[in-house]
Every structure is written in structure tokens, then in C-alpha cells.
Amino acid sequence: MTASTAILAPTAPVHPEGTGGAAFSLDRLEGKVVGFLDNAKPNFSHLVDAIAELLSTRHGVARVIKHRKRAASIPAETSVLDALSADCDLVITGSGD
């Protein structure tokens, strides 16, 4: 008969019931306000500028708002997040190098 060993898993216990995340629900780009949270990594500001230009000229985005963090490895300030959340229909952030 094979011996058995009981252990407790070292991972975070998760409650079996939980709420799901919100679905992505943007139905169009025209007339929308798009925000950018620039992570300050090299080249990301150029990507932001280029995407913003395309969204404005080709997809009818009404307004673009840009915020740039001081550094990639710090969280954005709460006031910035609140402003983007209040003013924008879509916010685009960046991750990676």
C-alpha cells in the first residue's frame, strides 16, 4: 500500500465565491476621449504621440489627454488616476521595455 502525505498548499487561499472584472465595452472611437498614462520607458512617449495622432485623424477621437509618470517603477498619483477615470472613455497604459 502506497504511503500518502498530506500537506497544506503554500499559495494564497482564495475564497470560492468572487466577483469578476468589468467587460471591455467601448462601442466606437468616434467622439470619445482617450487618455494615455505614459510609463516613462524609452520610446513610449513617441508611441503615445503616434497613436494619439492616428486616433484623432483617422478614427474621430474627440480629445486626447496625456499623463507621463516620473518613472516606470512608481505608481501613478491618485489624482492622476482619478482625473483620467473621470474624463476618459478609454485609458491606454504601457508595460515592458
Binding site: 497544506l8 468589468a22 471591455f24 492616428l54
Partner: protein, 421 residues
């Protein structure tokens, strides 16, 4: 939505899931991105916009998933999962290896009996949540901490210290989120002060950063396993370290309060000498400073010149570098009439580095990160390593010898000191 360079897409998805947004759209671009030409960036921008337009055109009816949000998990954490394994301790280690729950070394099987023994002496419910651990924001329940403590080989009397360490790393100023998911080599260094250091036999003397002391080895190891197994920072997944470092196996010592000529770290930070504390530091690594000089001025000079290094997060952000002075070097400085604060002032002034020593792209990061602090920055600007002299951390540790240690740190993280209760 977020733009991810391909090498970081898995991190983006894992992070989105951890934050309760498993359906967050990700716009994928090629990696590496930072070295692309302007023309290439514009091409990538068009690709991003095409991806976005496709998402919008499809209507993207992504249903909310049944995944638990971080907040829900935190608020309603339950008991650790019990797993029955066919086999003995070898089978346990095979499971840990398969599930990536280990640090690469064999573990002590966290049986329910061992975990219960670990929990004795801590008068809290096992499912009580000590902290939420980034970047997965897993709930570090007392029981889950104890499981990792057992697996690491900790003695039960180490558990209050570990609890304090988990509380400390979860403090916002420590910036655990960044430390866990970065490409940087940063490890979490645990410094123990007060009576607990001797009571738990945490080594503050010879080879205190090396192998051989049970408390140093297992406490540091347990914290790393907690950061990995509860915090989700599995190497190559949410942990994106380019190399990592040996300190990510274990990095723990006590301060040598007996041989230090100054007040201890925890007294310096406002605690009573009779209190016991842990201090957590985001440490990039260690660099030995072997100098036989008995002259305080020369000692400070060579230390300061060691601290100056162009590819440095400290100089980029105005960080919090640390030094471990051996008792001999500390006494040279103290005998010259220098207090700990004086040493920090001297090192801060002497370690200022001309901005021109940094690579061009790195200097751009400095301009971005420190313009509010320093004003206009040019090639001849002398960059201070920390924003203030007080930002340099300093302890006395180690045994006999003429070696001190420079510990460069993550830059955008501040050490946290937590009482052990």
C-alpha cells in the same frame, strides 16, 4: 487597456487578472521596444491602432469572468488547500517542483501537523489576513505564512518575525509591486534589531550574509517563498528579473549592536532599544569594500568612490543606498569623532557624481525622474546618490576584518521598519 511588449505580455495578463480585470485588452508590440527607431515606433503605433479598432469593431462581448477580484479574495480569505499526495517527502518535493512552489531547493513538507506547531504561540486565527502581497495581491493569511515558514525550515519562534517582515514589505513606501515584477536584480534584505536577534540567534557577526546560520537562512528563504507563492512572483512569469541574484534565495542578518559604536538602526528609526524590529530593504546586491586604511578621511573617500556607479538606479531616481560597515571601519570613523549622521553627510557629499558619467539614455531617465528635485540638469551637474544625506542607510555588521559592504538598492523604494510583536 495596456500596451505590452511581447516579453512582458504574460506579466500584463497575470497582473490584470490579479487586479480583478482578467479581460483587460492588451495591445501587443514587439520586444525590445526601447531601442526602436522613430519610424519603427510609428509602424508599431499603426499596428496598435489596428488592434484597437478591431476590438471595437468586434463589439468585444467579453463576459465578466468568475475570477475573484483581489479585494474579494482579501476580504474573504479562507484556509490553505489541503492536498493528499501519494508518496513520501520525495513526492512532496516533486509536487513543489512541478507547481513551482519551491525556490529550486528541497522543502520541508508542510504537513498540517507541522503547520499547527508553527502556529502555536501566535494568538490569531489562522485565516486572519496579515497583508496583501503584490503583484498578485494574494492574501497572506497567518496560515499561509506558516506553511511557507515550515517549507523553508523555520523554527516556530521565527513566525512573529516573519509576520512583521510581511507587514513591512506590504507598506506602500516599500513599493513591493515594482520590486516583485521588475527586470532589476533586487532582492528583499531583512535586517533584525533588538532582543529578538539574540533570542532567535540571528547572525550579526562573521559570515552573517553567508551560509551556515539556521535563522538567517530560513527566515530569508521563507520571505522569498511568501513573495513567490503568495505574491505570485514566480521567476519568468510575474518576476521578470533579467538575472536575479543569490540574495533571492535568502538575504537576512542582524545588526551587530554589540560591536557598533553608534545607536542601532531601530533606535535611529525611532524605536526603543528594548523593542525588536525587522527592516526590509530592496537590495540590488552586495559589493565588498576591502580597505586597510585607519584614516577616517581616506575611508570615507574610498567608500564614496565605490558608491559612484553610472548604471545606477540610485543616481537615476535619488534613491536609498545602504552600507554595512564592519566593526573595525565603524570604530575608525567613530574615533575620528564622527557620528552616524556625520558619516552619512560625508558620504552623501563625496559620492555626488557628474551627470556626464551616465549613458545618454540613462541621463534622459534622470532628467525625467529628478527634474523637480534638482532643477535643470546638465552634463556637469553633480548628482547626489540620495535625495538627502539621511537617505543613506547604514548598519554595523560582520566580524573581524577590514571589509565593509556597499549595498546598492532599487532606487524607487524606501526601507520599512516594523516592530516584531
Amino acid at each position: 487597456m495596456t500596451v505590452c511588449s511581447s516579453a512582458f505580455e504574460s506579466l500584463g495578463r497575470a497582473q490584470a487578472k490579479a487586479l480583478g480585470q482578467p479581460n483587460l485588452p492588451i495591445l501587443r508590440i514587439a520586444h525590445p521596444f526601447g531601442n526602436r527607431s522613430r519610424t519603427e515606433v510609428e509602424t508599431m503605433a499603426r499596428e496598435c491602432v489596428d488592434q484597437l479598432a478591431t476590438l471595437v469593431a468586434k463589439g468585444n462581448p467579453q463576459e465578466a469572468s468568475g475570477q475573484a477580484s483581489a479585494q474579494a479574495a482579501h476580504a474573504a480569505a479562507s484556509r490553505c488547500e489541503r492536498i493528499e499526495i501519494a508518496g513520501d517527502v520525495d513526492a512532496v518535493n516533486r509536487l513543489f517542483r512541478r507547481r513551482r512552489w519551491s525556490d529550486g531547493l528541497p522543502v520541508v513538507a508542510p504537513t498540517p501537523e507541522r503547520v499547527e506547531r508553527m502556529l502555536q504561540g501566535v494568538l490569531r486565527a489562522p485565516q486572519s489576513v496579515i497583508a496583501s502581497v503584490a503583484p498578485a495581491f494574494g492574501a497572506a493569511t497567518l496560515e499561509a505564512i506558516a506553511v511557507n515558514a515550515v517549507a523553508s525550515g523555520c523554527e516556530p519562534e521565527y513566525l512573529p518575525l516573519l509576520i512583521a517582515a510581511v507587514q513591512a514589505v506590504a507598506e506602500p513606501q516599500f513599493n513591493l509591486q515594482a520590486i516583485q515584477a521588475t527586470t532589476n536584480s533586487v532582492a528583499v534584505w531583512v535586517i533584525v534589531n533588538g532582543p529578538a536577534a539574540q533570542q532567535l540567534e540571528v547572525n550579526a557577526g562573521m559570515n552573517c550574509l553567508g551560509q551556515g546560520t539556521w535563522a538567517n537562512a530560513t527566515i530569508g528563504r521563507a520571505l522569498r517563498l511568501i513573495l513567490q507563492n503568495i505574491g505570485g512572483a514566480v521567476a519568468g512569469e510575474m518576476d521578470r528579473a533579467t538575472h536575479g541574484q543569490p540574495g533571492k534565495y535568502s538575504f537576512c542578518c542582524a545588526e551587530n549592536e554589540i560591536d557598533s559604536p553608534w545607536e542601532s538602526l531601530h533606535v535611529e528609526r525611532g524605536f526603543a532599544r528594548s523593542q525588536s524590529t525587522v527592516t526590509v530593504v530592496g537590495a540590488e546586491g552586495t559589493m565588498n569594500m576591502n580597505t586597510h586604511t585607519k584614516d577616517a578621511d581616506q575611508l570615507l573617500r574610498v567608500f564614496a568612490e565605490t558608491m559612484q556607479h553610472p548604471p545606477s538606479n540610485e543616481y537615476t531616481h535619488g534613491g536609498e543606498p545602504w552600507l554595512i560597515l564592519c566593526p573595525e571601519h565603524a570604530n575608525v570613523l567613530q574615533h575620528a569623532g564622527l557620528s552616524k549622521a556625520d558619516v552619512k553627510q560625508e558620504l552623501w557629499e563625496r559620492s555626488r557624481m557628474p551627470a556626464r558619467r551616465m549613458a545618454d539614455r540613462d541621463l534622459l531617465r534622470v532628467l525625467e525622474s529628478r527634474k523637480d528635485e534638482l532643477g535643470p540638469i546638465g552634463p556637469d551637474t553633480l548628482l547626489p546618490i540620495a535625495q538627502r544625506p539621511e537617505g543613506i542607510g547604514l548598519i554595523v555588521a560582520g566580524g573581524p576584518g577590514t571589509h565593509s559592504v556597499y549595498v546598492p538598492c532599487f532606487g524607487n523604494s524606501l526601507a520599512v521598519t516594523q516592530e516584531i510583536t
